[in-house]
Amino acid sequence: MRAWLMPLVLGFLLAVAGYVTAMMQFPQVLMGFATSRISKAAGYNTLFASPMATDKARAIVRPSPDLAYSSCPFDLVNGPVLVDVEPVPAPYWSLSVFDARTDVAFVRNNLDANNQPIRIAIAQDGQPVPDGMQAVRVSGKTGIALLRILVQDRAQFAAIDAARKKSNCKPLS
């Protein structure tokens, strides 16, 4: 029995290590899946205007059926990505940027912005951004920029949909 003592100690230590590693990696793995799934609609570094969520929506868990989402899965491997949001005729809209660990690197809503356009450059540390652009620094190369727009009445959706398509997401170079 003594012959198993040290192997069991090793097993216990590796169980702790396995638990901590799995817990730490969970968000990055799931964020990677989410970014990949969303990019299938229109690719990376471009803003895709999703239809209103229904029971058929499977790209993201817990979508809000009250919001119109436009999403830009970004990849900074070739440099910063610019996001330009034009105001939409809705009582609430916001732009948020999520990094590869699911942390929110940036969020601003229409009230914060006084219903004016929002223009940001998503970049990693060390990547230069154009003068006058607000830099949003993220950890990791990938993530998602998300535009949420409150649709109080689905009869308003066509007007909101047309307005949100004036926003864009594109690589700097």
């Binding site: 198993w4 192997p7 396995g18 799995a22 817990m23 799931l30 029971d55 993201i60 868990v61 916001s94």
Partner: protein, 188 residues
């Protein structure tokens, strides 16, 4: 048996057990389970660097891309006010008062977190559609109800998520049990 074989057996088993325990704990975790208020659970550190590894993992599974507290708060219920699991074959009366936020919505999901198919294509009730925001009732039931109705689609287990956007206190505090809606089963 060679000693190194014992080390390999215990090492591999330990790693598998540890990783498996983490996955199982996250899979059984509820969205925003850090604080329970009556039937509702919530958390204040979604999307922030201050979130624990466990919170971060559960949110990534149950509600990825959740906003930070100053922008939105999320309250989730998988049980009624008596502590019984929410059953899609039963009828519930959800009764609420004024919610201190710019706007709110109540959405019904299945356990994995997807909207539930129903013939009426109704998935949520938002504050803009509540006639009296100071005193409101939503009936959650499989069959159509008079007034504000949220269909369950007759699924076995469902969850309710209350989103409060731009909370009056900047998301610093939780809604109290008195401010959160009650969920009372009326029959099955």
């Amino acid at each position: 048996m060679q000693p190194w074989i014992r080390y390999v057996i215990c090492g591999v088993a330990g790693l598998a057990l540890g990783a498996g325990a983490a996955v199982q704990r996250v899979r059984t975790g509820a969205f925003g389970a850090s604080t329970a208020i009556g039937p509702w659970t919530t958390g204040k550190d979604f999307g922030t660097a201050g979130a624990s590894a466990y919170t971060r993992a559960v949110v990534s599974l149950r509600g990825i891309l959740a906003l930070p507290a100053h922008e939105a708060r999320y309250y989730n219920a998988a049980v009624d006010s008596a502590g019984q699991p929410l059953d899609g074959k039963c009828r519930y009366r959800v009764t609420g008062k004024a919610i201190p936020a710019k706007w709110w919505s109540l959405t019904l999901y299945d356990h994995p977190g997807y909207l539930v198919a129903n013939q009426a294509n109704i998935f949520s009730v938002a504050s803009a559609h509540v006639p009296n925001p100071a005193s409101w009732t939503v009936l959650v039931a499989p069959a159509e109800q008079a007034g504000l109705w949220l269909p369950t689609g007759r699924i076995d287990r469902f969850e309710l998520t209350l989103r409060t956007y731009l909370p009056d206190d900047g998301g610093a505090g939780n809604l109290t049990r008195d401010q959160l809606p009650s969920i009372v089963k009326e029959g099955c």
